[in-house]
Amino acid sequence: MDSMSDWDTVIGLEVHVQLATQTKIFSGASTAFGAEPNTQACAIDLAMPGTLPVLNKQAVHYAVMFGLAIDAEIGKESAFERKNYFYPDLPKGYQTTQLEKPIVGRGNVEIELADGSTKNVRIHHAHLEEDAGKSLHEGNFRHGVSGIDLNRAGTPLIEIVSEPDMSSAEEAIAFAKKLHSIVTSIGICDGEMSQGSMRFDVNVSVKPRGSDTLGTRTETKNLNSFKFMEEAITKEVERQIDLIEDGGTVIQETRLYNGDTKVARSMRSKEEANDYRYFPCPDLLPVIVSDETIEELRRNLPELPDARRARFADQYSLSDYDAGVLSSDAAMAAYFETATKTSGNAKLAANWSMGELSARLNNEDLSIAKSPVSAEQLGGLIARIADNSISGKMAKEVFEGIWAGEGDADQIIEARGLKQVSDSGALEQLVADVLAANQAMVEDYINTDEAKRKKKLGGFMGQIMKASKGQANPQQVNQILAQKLNELL
């Protein structure tokens, strides 16, 4: 019988993080995403003969910042090596990377699980390297021809290598999300997963429950969404368990998972693996990072997610859950804080950021950076809710208007005539008029048992709101109505 509970899962991650530098790691070409193919590749990126690399200092600083964020040892003298293999999107025929002397040494990342418990995931090291270009094969390119786009070639990366400390897809996803949160919070990566800014290689093995001996692992490469990663891990764990329980053995291999078709396949086995023939790159000097530089970067390190979470809970009186959700993503955190500042109401800003806004962004597959409703605009809307200018129902309509680009909250409220009437004199007159026009309902109310009268209020409310074209402040109307009916008893 196949039983998941008979097995332990062991997971380690290798995470490629594109650094948010303006230019490439070894050339002055732009790193901006989405340009026409090969328009952002200079002679160095094309590996033209005689060209030489010059290290981008900002990339080094970003890598050090990551090391500081995970409390890691910083390699004060790190070195670049050449990793040799032939592929058309690797122009030099080698990747310039780090092996023996990485810039970031051992560190730790604490993850939080759904049951509220925490777990430490050890980082083995993180190193600097250059990204490769992209091969465009049939289907994505002309029939019968493969194309090479070298715009991405030379984009700076840090590759973060974890210890195999995770034992479920849930833990792996929590770790991946925490890394995303850290690198976006300290501003070294834009975090745009769909553009490949973070890519995950997942090493998975299984072993009989409680066994000390690790099973043979497989590596599933290049997962670029948390969802695909979860699916890929779940499927791979099942595959390995089924395979072993059916008397087979897992072979060490590199696998690919297609998130669209939900199909995983083997890419190459260990026997076919390349001998990369690493050796120190003679074109680059050892990278020396001084204590002064490290201290300066430490002093200027932006707020980390855990610290921000604690601050949010404290400063804005948010629940632990809300503080966690709002602080994990740097862009979301900044959005929330701006909306709070503009509106003066943290509770509403939190509810709207996590509720209506997040739902809409999810539906349209947009990141918060691309939100059609700016934090200032949401803040403006919340201010009108908070001062009772509009009802919650109206607010949703106004939000849609802002989303559609009709302007700020006040402009839309004005244009659509949505202003809520909260003037008590006007409301009292309105309630009196409705009661006068509906004597039969009033009689019925008076003659109803006290216990059942409350149920009759809804009818009056409906009439009053209708008469006000929905603009009357419902809370106030409720109060005035109750008071006036009481007087008639």
Binding site: G50, F86, K92, G93, P282
Partner: protein, 484 residues
């Protein structure tokens, strides 16, 4: 005009004895008439040269022209020249026209020098005889049945044949000094990091260094003034002021301590070569220098260490030539593997393929420590040998190579015999030290080279010593028959 040195040509141009256009035309005519016998020049850029010469004449007329303004030179075809085919002596780059200048080329252009063309060389600078060039071997002007040395054999033969007063060259294991010795001219390999490697097609990045070739030390000094510069495009280029190398060449060498390493006079050295070198040392002693016997005990390890490190680096440096982006591509590849395999099998010559295979092997899993790791340790030992020697002496001198120019094909079947050509020159590359060669005698009517090895960034002293020697002797004035 072709017998004048660069220093003399500069005076002639400045005193209007002749114009740069006349000078340029004179050398272009010589190349057209004489080079078919030597095959020293791969590409002649006559139109561009004459245009540059006319522009130089205007600058000269206006006054304040830089020293090299209007002086014709040749560039080794390893230096990228904007808009001019840069082949590196290989079929692989026979169709390659770079859209940028090497820093060395740029420096000469800024100085107003006139580029006559590009010189022949061993393919990707791999060779000591110029026999590996895709464009055919260069012939030694002193004996056309003999090699000119390599890899900068085209530059050396061109200067010896007076096809240009000076030429650029590069030296990875002796590629400036050995051909300079075999062709009877003066050549200098500067300290590693003194001359920018940007735009200089890499053979072995940690050893490659560009330098000048001319007939005199004085001319090498003038050229090095132009070539040496700090360049932020080359991370291994060292930020350090460039002295005026011409300013100190007239200094006295009284009291100069010359180290004479016993290992450079061991068996394998041609007796005639030894005699010429010893005579040169005696001449310097007469001028007041002091000869000090020294030992560089790890010299014997330099050739094996070099033939691990250089091919290892080359195996990676030459991976970019894959038929995908530029250069040679095989006809009708059936798939990616076929594209790679045939492009590289057809585009690279035999020696280049041999070194790629050696380098790939040395770096392979399981062999790295025994070969590459060990070679790097040897490299440190060799550096320590020199460091110890320079505690006692100012310069080190000996022969540049074991014997004079050899006949074509005589070492073709035996790569190791060919590799031993560089036995006296390789150690300086491994240590990153500057070295130079200058003519000091004749054996069998062929020139002998005297090698000077200096301490780091001590090029000015080396040029000074060489110049003083050339003031007292006239080996550097000798010319192959019929070429004066």
């Amino acid at each position: 005009m072709h017998n004048l040195t660069i220093a003399e040509l500069i005076r002639g141009l400045q005193s209007k004895e002749f114009s740069s256009v006349e000078l340029t035309q004179h050398f272009l005519t010589r190349i057209a008439e004489l080079d078919p016998s030597y095959n020293a020049v791969i590409t002649v850029t006559a139109d561009q040269a004459l245009k540059a010469a006319a522009a130089a004449d205007q600058r000269l007329a206006a006054g304040n022209a830089p020293a090299l303004c209007g002086i014709p030179i040749l560039h080794k075809d390893i230096f990228c020249t904007n808009g001019v085919r840069t082949s590196c002596g290989s079929k692989m780059l026979d169709n390659f026209v770079p859209p940028y200048n090497a820093t060395v080329v740029e420096n000469f252009e800024q100085a107003g020098a006139v580029v006559l063309g590009k010189t022949n060389m061993d393919e990707f600078a791999m060779g000591s005889s110029n026999e590996t060039s895709f464009y055919g071997p260069v012939k030694n002007p002193w004996a056309t049945d003999c090699v000119p040395g390599g890899s900068s054999g085209g530059s050396a033969a061109a200067v010896a044949a007076r096809l240009a007063p000076g030429a650029t060259a590069t030296d990875t294991g002796g590629s400036i000094r050995q051909p300079a010795a075999l062709c009877g001219i003066t050549g200098l390999k500067p300290t590693y990091g003194r001359v920018s490697r940007w735009g200089m097609i890499a053979f072995a990045s940690s050893l490659d260094q560009g330098g000048p070739m001319a007939r005199t030390a004085e001319d090498c000094a003038i050229m090095l003034n132009c070539m040496a510069s700090f360049d932020d495009k080359d991370s291994t280029c060292i930020e350090r002021d460039v002295p005026d190398y011409s300013a100190t060449i007239g200094n006295s060498i009284k009291g100069l301590r010359i180290g004479v390493p016993s290992e450079y006079f061991s068996k394998g050295l041609n007796p005639g070569t030894e005699q010429a070198v010893r005579a040169a040392l005696a001449e310097l002693e007469v001028q007041g220098a002091e000869l000090v016997d020294i030992s560089l005990p790890n010299t014997g390890l330099s050739v094996p260490a070099y033939y691990v490190i250089a091919p290892a680096e080359a195996s990676a440096n030459l991976s970019r030539f894959d038929g995908v982006k530029y250069g040679y591509r095989c006809e009708d590849p059936t798939d990616l593997q076929d594209l790679y395999t045939r492009t590289r099998a057809e585009g690279f010559g035999e020696e280049v393929q041999r070194r790629i295979l050696i380098g790939t092997y040395c770096l392979s899993a399981g062999y790295y420590d025994a070969y590459y790791g060990k070679a790097q340790q040897v490299r440190q030992l060799i550096q320590q040998d020199f460091a110890k020697a320079f505690e006692k002496v100012d310069v080190i001198m000996g022969p540049t190579c074991p014997s004079p120019a050899f006949k074509f094909g005589s070492k073709g079947d035996d790569p190791v015999a060919m590799y031993l050509e560089d036995i006296y020159t390789i150690a300086t590359n491994l240590a990153g030290l500057p070295g130079m060669s200058l003519p000091c005698g004749m054996v069998d009517d062929k020139p002998v080279g005297l090698q000077i090895i200096g301490n780091y960034f001590d090029e000015a002293r080396m040029l000074n010593v060489a110049h003083e020697y050339q003031q007292a002797t006239d080996w550097h004035r000798a010319a192959p028959e019929g070429l004066l």
